[in-house]
Amino acid sequence: MRTKWLLIALPVLIFVVLAQSAFWVPSYASQAERDPARLTTFLRAEIGDVKRLNPILQMEAGAQNVMLNKVTETLITNDETGKLVPRLADRWEVTEEAYLAVVADRQLADGTPVTGESLLGALRRAWQSAKLGALGASIQSLELVPGETRRLSETVLVADENGNKQPVTLDLTVALPERVKFRLSKVETRLFEQLGAVVGASYFRGYPFAERFKLQKPELLAQVRDRFPDLLAVAEHNPVITFYLHPGVRWHDGAPFDAEDVKFTYEALIDPKNASPRSASFVTIRSVEVVNPLTARMTYKRLYSPAIIDWASMDIIPKHRLDVNGLAREMDARGIHGAEREKFTLRDSSYNLKPIGTGPFRFSEWVPDQYIRLVRNDDYWRRKAEYREMYFRVIPDYLTMELELQSGALDRYEAQPYQAERYRNAAGYQVVSSPGGQYAYIGYNMRRPLFQDVRVRRALGMAIDVESIIKYVLDGQGRRSTGPYFSSTPFGDKSLKPLPYDPAAAAALLAEAGWKKNRAGLLEKDGKVLQFTLVTNNGNPKRKAVMTIAQEAWRKLGIDCKIQVFEWTVFIGEFVDVGNFDAYVLGWVGGDLDPDQYQIWHSSQAHRDELNYVAYASPRADDLILRIRTEYDVDAQIELTRELHRVIAEDQPYTFLYEPLMAIVLDKRIVRVRKAADGQEELENIREPAFGSVDQSVAEWRKLRLTPRGVVQ
């Protein structure tokens, strides 16, 4: 009967076809034989997809992995020791311009009334008589600038009828007084303090700001009043950074790269239409001038020492694609007309999906949630990359990554500690650990009376065996964290001892704070049991482990700690960000070069949508934070950061846990190719850099056909 045989034959046939396909698939061992191009293809895994590939519109690590110094490039960058080195800019210098307003109804230190001429004269005399000491050496010139009227616009938040805060742009004019202008060869943080001897210490106090401002909407005076001193500084520092660019660099589409692109990158960053999440780092810039096609000069509104570091992570974007004309050309090409044109901004540009840059790899293709493909830029202005192609595969699961690595469909992935452990001695693989630039902590909400007592916070921290967590949960792949600065940077105080693990002492501290065990074995004070909820986000096994371990450790002390896990957006949006929590487990990522801790620790940053989640408020810390931001002298700054590190460690607003090391598992056939000046090649295994991530040298990596033996280890 035909039907019968058909019914049986059909499934059998399907299975045979499916099964035989296995013989065609390249396995780990046979990948190079099936396809020699496999050796020049680099496959790496990302845990999640990126949103946009525009350096000014994204902050995520994933997008930076793709773009930063691969497709696009920065003006300057950090080398493998953490030092700033040239990239697109051959060199740079940091100088200063400073202004001192002529306050007409004051007197100088010697009693003469202040006029423009008398002030300039007094200052010039002090400078020439070497009364100013070292400061005098950095002053290059002094001159008087006449007063002028400036138009400004400021964005302020105004509550609408529903109580939601909406941004409102406010136009205002300021009548600038006559001012003395200083040119300085380097930034002098204490310039005006030192000038006090000349102009009198009270010169800088009580300036009548209100009469110099005119608001377009006077009813908003209250919202903008406290910005007046910023907008019209009586004594104003204007640091200047000048970048000298490398000549002859070209964008991937052949257009020349020049200082206009640098200027445009700044303009795009602060353009409110672009809503760049990175704008906050660049709003302190007053202007960027193109001195000549290879020189860009940036003038800052005030002292802001992290400025140069901000440029080390800011890729330059092409003006010819993204400025008004570039966007207009794009709209023409895409047939966008009428009202749509008005709404079209850089955020809508196709650049964000297919960017170009000046880097060693050209962007080729992006298939969302699957992969991004880069190909080698054969016209690169520096040493060309070894790989011809690079894939960023999106694999949202570490087990899947490991399976792909074992089957040869992946060359590199960032492994979980227990996975990395297995590959450390495995024949075909190499494991490189590098500091991940992150730390994990337990934060205590200091709005709650319970956590306002430093003894309670210390006791909670002392109950947790962080060394064991590092040893067993991280499999040793972590360093102890003692405070807000990373151990890989000079900013933290390395002599500081971490909080000891000592449950007995913790119990004693709690007893000292008035918490006594009740009959049920729980700690109690004034009839209230010591209980709180510890929360964290879902999907991070390490945090979940810390949470469980902490709960268990505190339970032994007699603390009733409940634990809860929430979805990331809920966790942040409904709990952490609005201060609606007792304690939480979280981490901070990045900023390892940035000494600035304003957003996380300054007491003014404890509101909704700000980052001082735990509402830490310490006058000492506040003062140090502000001084760090304005200190340009590296050594002096490090003194300050170390003190801040100690102050925060003393207060224990967080229990600082660990800085996890990033363990990267690589196919052992991948080596780094060092090229000597004479073209001689030397191969070596991939090694951990002293600073930053191992991926910085990826352009020098090459995959060999066989696992190398005689390579420099």
Binding site: A37, N164, P368, L403
Partner: protein, 320 residues
């Protein structure tokens, strides 16, 4: 008949509208922000967040948000919160990825179930029947991802063959035949895994249907006429047993969107299920709502289709 179709279609459209409103309600009453509004971003100021909220209408009243969504969906310029890309082309792309997996899974289910089910029915009570029964129940009862991981692990550990994704990365320059077979291989494992439950369920149905008809008078008559057993079974019994299966085709449709979240997640298969899952994780409201809407539409269409199919194949049924 046409009046019936018209009336049902109108009714269903009304239902669809209702469903879309309810799904809006569900989503907007729940906590959580679209991920674009990312307070973890240390550089993000309150001003920036407010600006982004405004540009996505997140602070508008519910009905306005709904109308915005409806209008954008109809005119095809609905954009994802996540990356600002239009939603519909994205769904289409993912649909193209899901479709082969869905088709192959369906093909395997429907071809494998009939011989197993018929055989079991014909040997009712035999060892074969009892063991397939047990196997079928086991397959229905096993968590899909549990079995899949065991299989993946076996394949990867034993043969070092890649099984994740749509193709093996790094074979882009290999000969055409290698790339083609590679795709087939990557299709094979997930669709077999996804088909297992289907085979178990459907073969049980086939068995039950065959048992139902095999004792009917016309089958007995056919046998009495002296026709050989195969002819009786495959010619007479099977043809009548097939009737109810026709309607099941209609119910397959919604499986295209929602059926495969788990398998697409395991095999990192960039299909519609994974798209929906990612949208949920990112609180990408336009995407979630549109997918939900389409799934509901497919379900409704599937029901309609099976009603019509049934009327077409079974003359006893009239559409009124």
């Amino acid at each position: 008949m046409w009046r019936f179709v018209l009336r049902t279609v109108l009714q269903r459209l009304l239902l669809l509208l209702l469903i879309s409103i309810i799904s809006h309600l569900v989503i907007h009453l729940a906590p959580g922000q679209p991920s674009e509004v990312d307070p973890m971003n240390p550089m993000m100021k309150a001003v920036d967040i407010a600006r982004i909220r405004a540009s996505f209408h997140l602070d508008d009243p519910f009905y306005l948000q709904y109308l915005h969504w409806m209008r954008d969906l109809v005119f095809g310029d609905l954009k994802s919160f996540r990356d600002g890309l239009p939603v519909l082309p994205k769904i289409w792309d993912r649909f193209l990825n899901s479709a082969p997996l869905f088709l192959l899974t369906t093909l395997i289910v429907w071809t494998a179930s009939f011989p197993t089910g018929i055989h079991a029915a014909l040997r009712r009570g035999s060892l074969y029947d009892r063991s397939t029964t047990l196997v079928a129940y086991t397959l229905i009862s096993v968590p899909g991802f549990f079995l899949s991981y065991l299989l993946i692990l076996f394949v990867v550990r034993t043969f070092h063959l890649p099984v994740i994704g749509q193709h093996t990365f790094g074979t882009e320059h290999a000969p055409l035949i290698v790339r083609f077979m590679d795709r087939i291989w990557h299709l094979a494992i997930p669709s077999i895994m996804a088909a297992l439950t289907g085979i178990a369920v459907l073969s049980r149905y086939v068995r039950a249907q065959m048992l139902e008809v095999i004792d009917q008078d016309y089958v007995r008559t056919a046998r009495a006429k002296g026709l050989d057993e195969d002819h009786v079974v495959y010619g007479h019994a099977l043809r009548n047993a097939l009737l109810p299966f026709v309607t099941m085709f209609g119910f397959l449709l919604p499986g295209l969107i929602s059926g495969s979240v788990i398998f697409e997640q395991i095999f990192a298969w960039p299909g519609l299920g994974l798209l929906g899952y990612e949208a949920i994780l990112a609180r990408d409201f336009p995407m979630i709502l549109t997918l939900n809407f389409m799934a509901a539409a497919l379900t409704l269409f599937g029901i309609l289709l099976s009603d019509i199919l049934y009327a077409v194949v079974d003359p006893r049924i009239r559409l009124e």
